[in-house]
Amino acid sequence: MKLHEYQSKQIFNKYGIPIPKGRVAATAQEARQIAEELGGRVVIKSQVLVGGRGKAGGIRLAKSAEEAENLATQILSMEIKGLPVRKVLVDEAASIASEIYLGITNDRAARRPVMMASAAGGVDIEEVAAKNPEKIIKVHIDPLLGLRDYQARDIAASIDLPREHWRIFGQIARGLWDAYVACDATLAEINPLVITADRRIVALDGKMVLDDNALFRHPDLAEMRDLDVEAPSEIEARKYGLSFIKLDGNIGCMVNGAGLAMTTMDIIKLFGGEPANFLDIGGGASADKVAAALRIILSDPNVKAVLFNVFGGITRGDEVARGILAALAEVKTNVPMVIRLVGTNAEEGRRILADAKMITAETLADAARKAVAVAQAA
């Protein structure tokens, strides 16, 4: 789950990282008022969860409160990469002497967190990583020890930060680590961290991505979720604990297990069809969950066929079969359904479904061929 810039910066500030004075506004009038409080010269920043806000005209400098109001009016009526701008952050404008990148993320390959820093801040760090990897300093952190002070000093020295800033940089690095741990982040990033003309260090921008699996222990953070970035069907799916991703094809897929769900999509494509979604009903799928999944799949008008591929393990075939029956009783549909049921309690499941009008298949390839054929015939 991604947090907005203003949310990330508020969290950073709580952990001792200096941020510009400013507040978030939902209307141009509010933006004007904040600008007046800050003395007029402010930056108006659209709060949407996509990159490239600046290039899209979503970040603008205002020299007066009146200009702030005008710019906020414009920005609040914008859509950036398909997402509506609902809030703007109004920050005091900073005079920048230099820009640094500082971030922490999980290094999968090293199996531990890595702190990354670069003197080339303010630009797309992935671009720097691709073109000039030597300009990025990486320091792995022992997750049981946490960031050590010497590591922060080493980073400061490696990016040629003047010594006068080392103490505050250490405090910022420590704050970023604490925020990353406390929020169960998978990414905590300051880009840019700027040294101002009056020699202060301030986090001008902030980004956090949180681990969805850890939100159970952060109900306050879970509430910050921005639903604009997700398709309505994906939001609905999450309520039922379903893992669902909408795609553009016409064959709906209901599969147990993520790997098999991906494979089912792949094989539909291999046999000339296009999957309409990724859907993993998960382990131990109850009848309720299966019914919800079917409703969600059929809410997409593009869907011309549904392929059920269930290989019983934790998920029991009979349970899934009952779910399908319950769902079919509730959702009246003429969309043809192909089903393949194998594994734990599969025979009982097939017995339960014997009277439902479904096309049955033995193998995965057979199921995919049949689903592609009925979707093309529709």
Partner: protein, 287 residues
Amino acid sequence: MSILVDKHTRLLVQGITGNEGLFHTIQMVEYGTNVVAGVTPGKGGEWVLDGKIPVFDSVKIAVDTTGANTSIIFVPARFAPDAIYEAADAGLELIVCITEGIPVQDMMRVRSYLDQKGVRLVGPNCPGLLTPGEAKVGIIPGDIAIPGNVGVVSRSGTLTYEVLYALKLVGMGVSTCVGIGGDPINGTNFIDCLRMFEEDPQTEKIVLIGEIGGTDEEKAAEFISDYLTKPVVSFIAGQTAPPGKRMGHAGAIVEGGAGTAVEKVKALQAAGVRVASHPEEIPGLLS
């Protein structure tokens, strides 16, 4: 022979009185696995399976009493890290964690701790292990595989069943099947299993089932080309997965253009691995 689990496995089930724990304990016992103990804090002194398996309050007491050497964990994600630490501290050699949804920072701490202790973890978010005819430690349906000489290692659960089933349909047997799990941070990776299969005299061929996300398949490819003498066949799931989306498994995501199925297939093919275009092609590529 086989790897990691066999008829000498003395299994302890953490979370044995829960729904999933009990259901799969029954399945494991029916398969012939030697389940010697269960642990559910607060239920020590009880018995499950009609008085066949004693339940203990702690892993330490269970191990001291029954001589268990392997643990399987069926406890919910919020308690699973503690269950892993408890099993490691009780001196178990092998811990298998089925639980899905453990926060990734928890797993980084767990892995760091286990590495210091030299304890092997399989999983989490995995279906466990199956050595056909000897032991089932996990949730892989026992009847979909027969004993044989193919070693199987996979990041997935049900996709693995699919492959086992396809092998069985043509009469191909399996030495051991290891589900290493779909999380970004896990205990045992492809290379660990490839090394064990290479050393296992029963295993003659290997099937590696990967998916999008991370670089474990690419590293496995490098390892295969440098060290492996046994033939490897592979399948990679997620050719059609859109970038930036997490495909169910916490670890299955193409990030910043890295971790795509295409790259993985290319790396494996360059290492001499035959890559199937769908799981049911695997038996043909093995023979």
